[in-house]
Symmetry: C2
Subunit: 668 residues, 2 copies
């Protein structure tokens, strides 16, 4: 990166391209003041801002010192630019304590595409839109043109919009072969609408921003994950079958597991989210948020866990970073003073829909250790769980008083990663990380890359809709992957069933079709198990699922290898087409198909009644997994019956034999 002083500012260039630029015509930084107003309700945040000042900053003085350049902007901001060959690192320091809004412009090109900003469910390519970055519920429907979204919006403002996500992050990747990362957890809004620049807004001056380029996307992934981290390989058992989501007590859960096994479904895990008990609300069955074994509901569970473990089947549970009022752990935490407080000093309670919870203050080292030791290690790992859904993380109220003394507005987006870290350390300290225990999370932020063992795409609607159904899980996986969270999966068949929207057999089957070609297969009964399709109620689907899991297990060496590659190089297990086909411009806007590892291409089917499916193949020697037919690339349409969504592998793959075996067993 080269620093060039210009008449009224500077440019930072590399290989003829401009990466940062400031001059009188086009300021690099604006600072200002804003007065936000936030209405929070059950994980949804209506946020509006009144920007009262927005001042363009001019380059006043420039001082060069070796690799570093110190710039004074209008006497209100000091910036130190540290330049390396492919990297710019800027440290900002505000000289005006009243500044609470900050805008940074990055030069853009018209055709440039951008990706990331956390886990984005609607749009993989961010260009043409702005993305408020704030951890929240993602909404149900997420498309103002669907009736379901309107119903949810009208009922209680829960319809959501394209940018709502559990996992926002101030990091993106450009098709110009660079990543940008801002080290801050303040509210942000990244705006990719302008042809000439990306404008990144922050509600606090970010301490550090980094822009780093690479020659190829795989190299870029290495650099991103060198910066942000990578999690280790998953425990071996995860590859050995499907994790079935069942619930309702010892008898029902293990009965359903047995039934699945009898029907030839290789089960590697039994996941009971209600291992700690349940409660019924108008949304559906909810859990008892007092994180310990419910002996009444799950009598004899320790024995069962041991018994099934001997058969190679693990038992998984559930937890989240809240404690239900009235629960034993709530009481304990309250007595110890571990729960966060309101501004008036009273206990802060969060409404989760017909029940209130306290918030263990994870910024208080004692509370953090207590949660980790008392709950995660003792109640869960020592109890015998081999994994859990580490749910939530998005609900930190914006006015809560924390032990750290940091404003909740800054801690809110930090909470998901802090929550991940707490789980991570529990595994690390019990030496179960990557060996035995795995947890999966939906919320995320800076740090999830190194602290979250497995992402799950959260609560999709139980349908094929573009913004909240099956396709949104693909976009989410690609998006999280490109900023370093490279291992993702989703609830087979989706989770959220609202109003008349219920999971059909076809939705389940097509989702399972896709899940085969993801690192982890796991089912969920949904929020309303009674009215949604369940595989165990249907002989056909049991048979199909058995077959699907068999293929998934056959793929184990390939999948494990892809995960290994991720742990070494940061290449996500599921990748956008452009990751390996940079020259192919089509791939930059495809978000409904993906590469699985280096050698497979998957195009999930998400239309009802589809018998064939159209897709795009970048130029390569492709072999259709089910027929063995060869393709060279381009637009193509193939038969895609249930059980055989379009999947292709590269002819010269070292796993060719494996793929051929699969075709022989399961192909046409």
């Amino acid at each position: 990166m080269e620093w060039i002083r210009t008449e009224t500012g500077f440019e930072i260039v590399c290989g003829g391209e401009t990466f940062l630029k400031a001059d009188a015509e086009c300021p690099m930084v604006y600072v200002g003041r804003g007065e936000e107003s936030i209405y929070a309700h059950r994980g949804y945040y209506d946020i509006t801002d009144h920007v009262t000042e927005r001042i363009p900053l001019a380059v006043k003085t420039v001082k060069q010192a070796g690799q570093d350049v110190e710039v004074n902007f209008s006497d209100v901001l000091q910036a130190v630019f540290h330049l390396e060959k492919d990297r710019i690192c800027v440290n900002f320091q505000s000289l005006d304590p009243g500044v609470n809004r900050f805008w940074l412009r990055i030069p853009a090109e018209k055709e440039e595409a951008c990706y990331g900003c956390g886990e984005q469910f609607s749009y993989f390519n961010l260009r043409g839109r702005n993305f408020p970055l704030w951890s929240s519920e993602p909404g149900v429907g997420r498309d103002k043109k669907t009736y379901l979204t309107w119903e949810c919006d009208t009922a209680d403002g829960t319809g959501g919009d394209y940018y709502h996500t559990y996992f926002p992050q101030t990091t993106f990747v450009s098709s110009r072969h660079y990543y940008f990362h801002a080290e801050t957890t303040a509210y942000a809004d990244f705006d990719f609408r302008n042809e000439k620049y990306h404008e990144l807004q922050f509600w606090a001056v970010p301490e550090t921003v980094i822009l780093e380029r690479a020659d190829t996307f795989p190299e870029l992934m290495q650099k991103i994950t060198d910066l942000l981290g990578r999690v280790p390989q998953m425990p071996e058992w995860v590859y050995d079958g499907i994790i079935i989501g069942v619930q309702g007590g010892t008898e029902r859960s293990f009965h359903l597991a047995d039934r699945s096994l009898r029907n030839g479904i290789q089960v590697c895990g039994i996941w009971c989210q209600d291992w700690e008990g349940k409660r019924v609300t108008s949304f559906g069955k909810r859990l008892q948020w007092d994180w310990r074994w419910d002996e009444k509901m799950y009598p004899g569970l320790p024995d069962k866990i041991r018994e099934y473990r001997e058969k190679g089947i693990r038992f998984l549970g559930y937890t989240n970073p809240y404690l239900v009022q009235g629960g034993q752990l709530f009481q304990e935490a309250e007595e110890k003073g571990y729960l966060a407080k309101n501004p008036d000093g009273s206990l802060c309670l969060v409404d989760f829909g017909e029940f209130d919870c306290g918030i263990p203050d994870l910024t208080d080292p004692e509370a953090y250790e207590w949660f980790k030791n008392r709950i995660l290690k003792k109640n869960m790992i020592e109890f015998g769980l081999s994994g859990w859904m580490a749910d939530f993380g998005e609900y930190l109220p914006t006015d809560v008083q924390l032990h750290s003394g940091r404003p909740a507005m800054l801690e809110h987006n930090h909470w998901p990663a802090l929550w991940a870290k707490c789980n991570y350390e529990a595994l690390k300290e019990t030496d179960t990380l990557g060996k035995e225990v795995i947890y999966f999370m939906r919320s995320g932020g800076i740090g999830s890359q190194k602290y979250c063992t497995l992402m799950w795409n959260g609560d999709q609607s139980v349908d094929f809709t573009r913004h909240d159904g099956l396709p949104s899980a693909i976009a989410a996986t690609l998006s999280a992957g490109i900023i370093g969270c490279g291992i993702s999966h989703s609830d087979i068949g989706g989770y959220t069933s609202m109003f008349e929207n219920c999971r059909t057999k076809e939705v389940f089957q097509r989702w399972a079709d896709m899940a085969v070609f993801t690192p982890v297969m796991r089912t969920h009964e949904s929020n309303r198990p009674e009215t949604n399709f369940q595989y165990y109620d249907d002989a056909d689907t049991m048979e199909l699922l058995a077959r699907q899991v068999q293929i998934h297990v056959e793929l184990k060496p390939y999948l494990k290898d892809a995960v290994d590659e991720y742990t070494r190089t940061g290449l996500p297990v599921q990748r956008p087409l452009f990751m390996h086909y940079e020259e192919d411009s089509r791939g930059y806007d495809i978000q409904n198909e993906y590469l699985l590892g280096r050698d497979m291409l998957v195009a999930p089917v998400y239309e009802s009644g589809a018998e064939e499916w159209s897709l795009y193949l970048p130029e390569d020697q492709w072999v259709h997994l089910w027929t063995g037919e060869e393709y060279r690339g381009g637009d193509t349409t193939v038969k895609a019956p249930v059980g055989q969504i379009p999947v292709f592998y590269r002819k010269d793959s070292k796993y060719r034999t494996l793929f051929e075996e699969i075709r022989q067993k399961y192909g046409c």
Copy 2:
């Protein structure tokens, strides 16, 4: 008004209250730059703004010269404050040509209420919300929580929102007894959300702003209309019955008039919007926008007009400021070069839904005179029309090239008043103004006060809904009235029928119940006459309407007096309660009842199946019109059968005898 210099600025005070203020803590003015993006579709405008700069201005120098004070703000804005006893007039001059955004703060009090900003359909009291001021279609439904709004939004983005209006205006009235007026037609956004100030945004530096106080609201109305103007008394015939909206040719229209007459309905006007022919589109029956008598559809019309006029019944037509492509007048205007052009010099055509129109350039004095003389005077007044709906005015594209050379962004909000002026002059120059001819408009702006002979509330939905049905017509009337447009009426039964939403008999009857107590009664068959209730199809309703019109005609002396009062003093015919009951705090938030003139209070019924109705009476000696029962004020509930909505009069009214006669004839 007194000017007080303070340490870092100034205050302008009167009677201990602060009206304007500028200091380092609280700037009075911000200037900046913005880049708007506007997507226009059939009278709807999706407008977003990217404010790139917003700079608070400091008081740099102050120079006093007699009544005037000259202030230099930060060397970028010059302001001259002209102070009178109760009035501040500020002239602004920008010293930076790049400035295209301007924010002015007016000190506010927490409990203060504000009204006006043109004709507002959803909220009479503007406090707590912001109001973008831009002339447009108002939307159908106008409430994101109604299914109809969602259907319209989803179909083609026509659902609208609370602030959408045909008639925006940069003028408001404060409960603190002042009005504020900005002399500009630039896009504006008046924000009444802050407790401490109103923040008024303009997309151009306004040349002049005026703030004037008075001791009472009636005095304030006098001052507002002294500034903005008042229209003259309506022609006598308007009071003598109902104007019936019928259509479909000579035979059908006059047949329906005769039938109405036979049923005892006193008809004073036959309004045929299709006097110039019609076309059918998917929205419903539309008109032929080539403004001249359609001889085929209306054979023998001139004779009919004469014949009915002898019976005291006028004939009214329709026009608007567009010319349909392919029409005779379009061709004539095009040949003469009177039609507005696109930026590339080609003819600008506006899509009105399955047909395109040219825009006579009213900023071109020749085109303006042509439209006035050729169409309004010759084709309409000379032809024999006694009035018309002067429709539209909101559709000026934002990039059209105009003769005046002024940007269309500035002419857009000006167009409705220019359109009104053209109509006004046609009447004035034919000496028919206030004597014979009357036109009614929905669009408006600064100037409508003196140029629009009669407002009509536009196209309500044919229902009782809060934001787009009957109640919205009350809010609209009160809102237009308080900024000087004091004579309003609405389509009885509403106009817009979309999807399954059709006018019921009850909606028609209740709307007519209200219309009795407005200055003008007029029906409309709606956009889909076949599927909406029509009074002439129903014997009960004919009987009811006959009675309603009789009452309206009996009220003629009272109504005429109220209109006279408006023409002299600016007091709107329909008034909010606080106009005459300042001490009663309840009246400031009531927008579903109104005073009709000084002595009547009307509370329209807008719920299906209502047999009684609750309302509020300010303290006075009230007599219930239908029963003669006396009330002293407060909350009350009265019987309110169809035909007898709650109406009260003041016991000491000089019209007491008239009201008693009405009770004797039509009461219980």
